[in-house]
Symmetry: C2
Subunit: 252 residues, 2 copies
């Protein structure tokens, strides 16, 4: 059995907060300490970004001519578009109300992952960028959380993405440490001895999505969750391993 | 807390089996009966397809000239391609080793969802098609499972899909009943009173993905799972509601 535990009682996170300490307090009050082998701590992108001071006051942003043009094309705020461009390496799709980019981390996502909701009172004029290096942050958080433990646990930094052919968002991993974010089973056989056709599983994305069942979006938003009881496969790679490089992009 | 329970001890499913009865026996031996409000039974596509007799002996398939041509282009078995074409309404992408189609149910997926692994001993020459109408099957299974209950529960039929910009498969829902497969929160506000930017959540896909943490793929494959403790939102729509129609396809 796997269990998914919401971590409710984290305070509003500010730049420079000791996120590991706050998470430990929350885990403790939920009766989830000590952490165990097979535990995965899932932290939403928003609180990691806030901790890293990735909030930008839109009043300080001067849009470039290119941003102004793209803002007209997509009917979005030119200051937001300026940030989207600064955070991206390529524009995948730009039509009215939709701007999909390849983020500098490689993820293809709406608005370079920049978020304008749920980022504190009076936040209408602020935007929250993705963490600087969420794989590295996941590693740091894992080390801070597991320093006194022999257990094999993992950390996933989650976000929610749309999909080109399906309505609605689902959870994805933009950072991971302590587990194979991408499980490679090439060469494995199924129970009838046939070579598997499905050879790679995006485990960290699946974990982020499972946690999204409790972290949700909106009014009842919960910023972190603990998943307990996973049988973590051998090996380790980061969320960057899930990114399909541009030269494999089927739609370029 | 949400819990995910693998259902291990289902027998090999054959055409015409009473799947609801077999699932009830498995749930009972796992100590999971009676079912409760907030329970979602997740059934993998494979066992539903087997129950519906969707196994095809490839020796009986005569490929059309179009299938033979497409098989050369994609380096796949022309008999398999014939089935892929029969099950699809459009070819989205065809390159060596990759064939992505729009399935007649609307889902965009590899090989029209046709599976050649894990489908019984000596199965090298057989292929398993998707269920005929997995939303309807989910409804029938829900009615059979909940007929003696006042609990609000749901059924999701799961499969695993690749993604264009990310490596590895994740779980998706191809059938759903008893819950809003697509949760629409347009008009809702976040905790700071701002209108939510993310307005639709693919709940059934998220549930299918969470279950995939225990159903997996390959040697330890588990054909069904129970998710317990979900706070199911009001309303109801089927997995078909998640499908983005062709005229909204950003990549056409």
């Amino acid at each position: 059995m796997i269990s998914i535990h919401p971590l409710y009682d984290l305070p509003e996170i500010a730049a420079g907060d000791d996120l590991a300490a706050l998470l430990r307090t929350s885990l403790s009050s939920a009766g989830l300490l000590p952490l165990q082998t097979g535990d995965v701590l899932v932290v939403t992108q928003k609180i990691l970004s806030k901790m890293e001071g990735r909030m930008v006051d839109l009043a300080t942003v001067v849009p470039s001519p290119g941003a102004i043009e793209l803002a007209e094309q997509t009917r979005k705020d030119p200051r937001l578009i300026e940030l989207v461009l600064q955070e991206s390496t390529a524009i995948v799709r730009a039509v009215p109300n939709i701007l999909i980019t390849r983020h500098r981390l490689g993820h293809v996502m709406a608005n370079s992952g920049i978020d304008r909701s749920n980022i504190g009172p009076g936040a209408t004029e602020r935007a929250l960028l993705l963490p600087i290096d969420p794989d590295r942050s996941a590693r740091q958080l894992l080390e801070a959380m597991s320093s006194n433990s022999d257990s094999r646990m993992a950390v996933v930094i989650s976000d929610s993405f749309g999909r080109p052919w399906r309505h609605g968002v689902v959870g994805v991993a933009i950072g991971a440490a302590g587990l194979p974010a991408l499980v490679d089973r090439r060469g494995d056989q199924d129970r009838d001895g046939r070579r598997l056709e499905v050879t790679q599983i995006a485990l960290a994305d699946q974990i982020a999505t499972a946690a999204a069942l409790v972290t949700g979006e909106g009014a009842e938003s919960v910023p972190a969750a603990l998943i307990r009881g996973l049988n973590l496969p051998e090996g380790e790679n980061c969320a960057g391993a899930i990114v399909r490089p541009m030269d494999e992009d089927l739609f370029q």
